[in-house]
């Protein structure tokens, strides 16, 4: 497979920026808060290295199978990140908020139906069934992710659940990237995939450029400190439990009212 200078530039820039993001995640101790997100970035770094060596020393088939195997893992981890973000927003007290649980399940079901519907409509011009399956799979994942990010945003606003700064920044980056991903996967489904197609190359470069913007956005925002944490220690939880059960004020208030 022949790579142009631009391809190599994107590849090298992506690799270095992902390493930079990993450094920020570990050095600023964000990895513990976002294990799936850290795992996703780690996988992308590993994927870049592995594919580089397979491309140079492996066969065309081995590159194909390695690429798509790692892409499936990548997509799975992206969905795990969606879950990670949802659990940070909708589990303010370490359990799913009662009032959003059913709405979230309902929205998840609807999102899956829409993603299945759009994927079913797509008919990518592919040479092999695997290529068609992979193209449809990418479209499905992009549609589902973009839906889930918008659904989470709408649901949290409706229920008035706050987003912590870093969670919001990760979600904004992934949300914007997945929305663009829908457009790119639509292009792939329409034009087909393969480096011999000019449309495929342009879309790939747009995707890489957008990803680099996202990584820069995450590096800057995850480096910055967050507002005071709301995740409670056991001591704080006990304190809050005591606060909840304290009805001293209620009693004082009602006693004083009886005196009036």
């Amino acid at each position: 497979m022949h790579l142009t200078d631009l391809d190599l530039l994107f590849w090298a820039a992506g690799f270095l920026e992902n390493l930079g993001l990993l450094f920020v995640l570990w050095y600023r101790r964000r990895a513990r808060s976002f294990p799936f997100f850290t795992a996703l970035i780690t996988l992308i770094v590993i994927k870049t290295v592995v594919l580089y060596f397979v491309l140079h020393y492996g066969s065309k088939d081995s590159y194909f199978y390695t690429y798509w195997s790692l892409t499936v893992l990548d997509t799975t981890l992206q969905l795990c990140v969606v879950y990670e973000i949802a659990s940070r927003v909708f589990k303010p007290l370490d359990v799913w908020a009662d009032d959003v649980r059913s709405s979230y399940a309902w929205l998840l079901g609807l999102s899956l139906c829409i993603a299945f519907g759009l994927t079913w409509l797509a008919s990518p011009p592919a040479r092999t069934w695997m290529q068609a399956f992979a193209t449809k799979g990418n479209l499905f994942a992009a549609v589902l992710q973009s839906e889930l990010f918008v659904a989470m945003m709408a649901l949290s606003m409706d229920a008035r659940l706050p987003w912590r700064t870093h969670v919001a920044k990760i979600a904004q980056g992934l949300g914007a990237y997945s929305l663009l991903g829908v457009l790119i996967e639509t292009g792939h489904s329409y034009f087909g995939v393969g480096r011999q197609l000019p449309g495929f190359l342009i879309l790939s470069h747009i995707r890489m450029a957008a990803y680099l913007v996202c990584v820069n956005y995450w590096i800057i925002n995850l480096w910055r400190a967050e507002r005071p944490a709301r995740i409670m220690t056991s001591e704080m939880r006990e304190k809050m439990f005591a606060l909840q059960t304290l009805v001293e004020y209620d009693l004082q208030d009602l006693r004083s009212r009886k005196k009036l």
Partner: protein, 187 residues
Amino acid sequence: MNTHNFYFLGAIGIFLGALLLVAGYYYFQSRRRSSPANWEDLFAKLTWIDRNNIAEVALNLVDESGQPKAADDAGGMELSQMWKLIGGLDGLEVLERNSDVLIDLAFYVQQWYPEALAIAERLRLDARELKWHVARLQGAAQKGNLQVSFPFYAQRAVVSYYRMTRNLLSLYEAGNFSMLADLQRAL
């Protein structure tokens, strides 16, 4: 372009348009709601309510600690009396609006008092329950059977509000905040 592709691209276009509209709407909503507000601004949004009336209706159903009363002791208030004390459906709508402000107040405290999270969550859940009750009453009013539904929903809505205000006051009291006196007067 064949028919199949036409449908596919059309569906994607509608999907993306709808998604961007929803995202844009909620993004601007969140920007509007997160505009810097201080205690005084939020406090000014509260509508004054006679808390003795609220307590009288609420305590008809729950005890002083907010726990439900035994079936024999609960209820029994006349509809006309309850309607007068609460201020009718308008009174309940005031409660609903106030509950939104109370959550904003709780969020304001959370910014420098992280322990407020649990109380804020309880307030939020209570406020949503209150809205649910008011929505049912509004639905009943539209169908003309408010007389039947009112005692059932109104009293529970008031109980929700009562519990919520007690929670907020206990939060402020625990934090030794200077604005407690203002809050007590308003609630």
